[in-house]
């Protein structure tokens, strides 16, 4: 039970970080391998504010959301938007370039070491229930993940912005004709994706660790969540993240010899059976 719960918590964290990628990659069709960079920025903002400025953990979270979001807007305006029409390969290379630059720059400013993070007291400790030990921090991740999932699902399905976004994604030309400012919608969406990554990055420092290699180390996990879940599908990402989280934690616990092999195998099998992902719709 504890393993399942830990798996769910890890999955929620994966979901928190990857759902932003699901928005950019799945909805806007941009293969953004640099997504982890935004999560890393969120993580570093959190750590720096906490350790150097003495802010309480929860107070650093808004900054960890806003800073990557703003960075996302800037990069989108300057660079990303020029490549919306480019081939998947160009997008891959471009975003890999950003990853390399971010890794080196982070290394330059913060050094190669793991950044320490001391969680506040109310997030440490455990709750003992019959049959399951629940870490408070992990419970916190699960709750945060559920809230974000609900909010996102609601905003994409119910709000006018969500409607505009879906329209812009489905048919740019028609959306423009209806007076939707597609450029602005995409910019805001990209900012949202980056901000979500930042949130996940900040919340995940305790579990994932934080060092300059972060965007490379976890890139594959984020990509797997999105491709397995079917791009652009928030609930799909949630299910995929939970599945992978549980499989990964359980695999590492029961068969530590094979390590991360299990989730790669799951991904490959799922992509063979369903190239659009579990919940994806076929591309038009």
């Amino acid at each position: 039970m504890t393993i399942i719960f830990d798996g769910i918590a890890f999955g929620m964290l994966l979901f928190l970080i990857s759902v932003g990628l699901s928005v950019t990659l799945g909805l806007m069709n941009f293969v953004n391998l640099a997504h982890g960079v935004f999560a890393m920025v969120g993580g570093y903002v959190c750590v720096v504010l906490l350790n150097d400025w003495g802010l309480p953990f929860l107070a650093t979270i808004p900054f960890a959301i806003v800073v990557p979001g703003v960075l996302g807007v800037v990069l989108e305006r300057l660079l990303y938007r020029r490549l919306y029409e480019a081939s998947a390969l160009d997008q891959v290379l471009f975003s890999l370039g950003l990853v390399f630059m971010a890794v080196a720059a982070t290394h330059y400013f913060f050094g190669a070491r793991q950044q320490p993070l001391h969680l506040p007291d109310f997030l440490t400790g455990q709750i003992h229930l019959p049959g399951v030990d629940i870490g408070v921090y992990r419970l916190f991740l699960v709750v945060a993940g559920l809230i974000v999932a609900a909010l996102l699902q609601w905003s994409v399905i119910r709000t006018p912005f969500g409607a505009r976004l879906r329209a812009a994604v489905d048919n740019q030309g028609t959306a423009r004709g209806l007076g939707i400012d597609v450029n602005r919608v995409f910019m805001l969406t990209f900012a949202l994706g980056s901000a979500l990554a930042g949130l996940g990055g900040a919340l995940g420092v305790e579990m994932l660790g934080l060092d300059p290699e972060f965007p490379v180390k976890y890139l594959v996990y984020f990509l797997i969540v999105v491709t397995v879940g079917g791009g652009g599908n928030i609930l799909g990402s949630l299910w995929a993240a939970l599945l992978l989280g549980v499989a990964d934690v359980a695999g590492k616990y029961y068969v530590p010899q094979v390590g991360a092999f299990i989730i790669y195998a799951i991904m490959v099998v799922i992509l063979i059976l369903r190239p659009q992902g579990l919940f994806g719709r076929p591309h038009h």
Binding site: A86, L93, F100, A104, I224, Q257, G259, F261, V268, L271
Partner: protein
């Protein structure tokens, strides 16, 4: 590409076919620049006697990039996991060496064979789905291998790798020396032979059909081309080439480590090929030269941050020079030729 002649009769058709074959034969002939290019490794041997290790690394990476060019540049199969085959080749040599079977040429053959088998099997997975699914599946296959090599430490040495592989003299005559001189010559010879074969393949009807598939995969079956089988074949071939590249690396370094299978190895390779230019065979070679020399120089200045410049180069490349070095050069030449033509026409008028 298409012959402008619309065949009216069997005779016309035969003439058109003849002309096409002639043109193909002409393009298959070696260009003077190519002869010059292959003088470079010979020159380098005499000019940089202290740098044989670096030079062999360039030759090996060239071969590796050539293998990716075969599948990506000619067949359009995008891959983020090509290091899988490189790694299989390297570990084949490493494991053979541990068992005292260090004959270099046998090593090459077996490495090519094992990599080809893996390529053949995984091609059926890779050839399904969209570009994105392909990226993920190739990446997934490579990462699975990485994890296996990482965990089965008893066989692969895990993170420590397999040091001190004993490699016998080539053909029983040439022993690998400390300075990497024999290793360099060996790497260049292997590269040249495989390049020559690849060049023949690319200019053969098989190579032409690959180009056709890349241009329009829907129409090729109408010409009687078994598209899927061709793609499987070229993917297997590319895998075998990559396996040989890995084998040569393991033989010249007498060491295999996990990094041969790593994601960064695949990513760097893709970058090298794009940097040089795809679908031209020489693109990978030129990309490898530029990349490794730049890496060497930049990490001399500033060992930790060379990746930053690499990333910047990549971003600029995508933004401003999408064809890579060779593509951009070709474009520039074409533009210049047009300009001179225009000028001469204006002069005549």
């Amino acid at each position: 590409m298409n012959s402008p002649v619309v065949p009216q009769s069997a005779n016309d058709a035969r003439a058109a076919l003849h002309e096409t074959l002639q043109r193909q034969r002409r393009s298959a002939r070696w260009h003077a620049l190519e002869y010059l290019f292959w003088c470079l490794p010979v020159l380098a041997y005499f000019l940089f006697p202290g740098n044989y290790l670096l030079l062999s690394q360039i030759a090996i990476t060239s071969l590796f990039a050539l293998s990716l060019d075969l599948i990506f540049g000619y067949a359009g199969i995008i891959s983020l996991g090509h290091a899988a085959f490189f790694g299989v080749g390297a570990y084949t040599v490493g494991l053979l060496g541990l068992r005292g079977m260090g004959d270099p040429l046998t090593g090459l053959l077996l490495a090519a064979l094992f990599a080809a088998v893996l390529g053949f099997l995984s091609s059926f997975l890779v050839l399904r789905g969209s570009d994105l699914a392909r990226l993920m599946v190739t990446l997934g296959v490579a990462l699975m291998l990485y994890e296996l090599a990482n965990k089965f430490t008893r066989i692969t040495g895990g993170v420590d790798g397999i040091p001190g592989i004993e490699i016998k003299p080539i053909l029983g005559l040439f022993e690998f020396d400390m300075y990497g001189r024999v290793g360099y010559v060996y790497a260049v010879v292997v590269l040249f032979v495989l390049f020559w074969i690849a060049r023949r393949i690319v200019h053969s009807p098989f190579g032409q059909s690959l180009r056709g598939i890349q241009m329009n995969a829907q129409r090729m079956p109408a010409l009687g081309v078994p598209v899927h089988r061709r793609l499987v074949a070229v993917y297997t071939l590319g895998a075998a080439y990559a396996g040989v590249a890995g084998a040569v690396l393991a033989q010249t370094n007498q060491f295999v480590s996990l990094s041969v299978l790593g994601f960064e190895n695949s990513a760097d390779l893709l970058l090298i090929l794009i940097l040089g230019g795809t679908g031209r065979l020489y693109g990978g070679l030129i990309g490898a030269i530029v990349f490794i020399v730049a890496k060497h120089l930049l990490s001399d200045i500033n060992p930790q941050y060379w990746q930053f410049w690499l990333g910047l180069a990549l971003v600029l490349l995508v933004m401003f020079a999408r064809g890579g070095i060779l593509g951009t050069a070709a474009q520039w030449l074409r533009a210049r030729r047009q300009r001179t033509q225009q000028r001469s026409q204006e002069g005549a008028a």
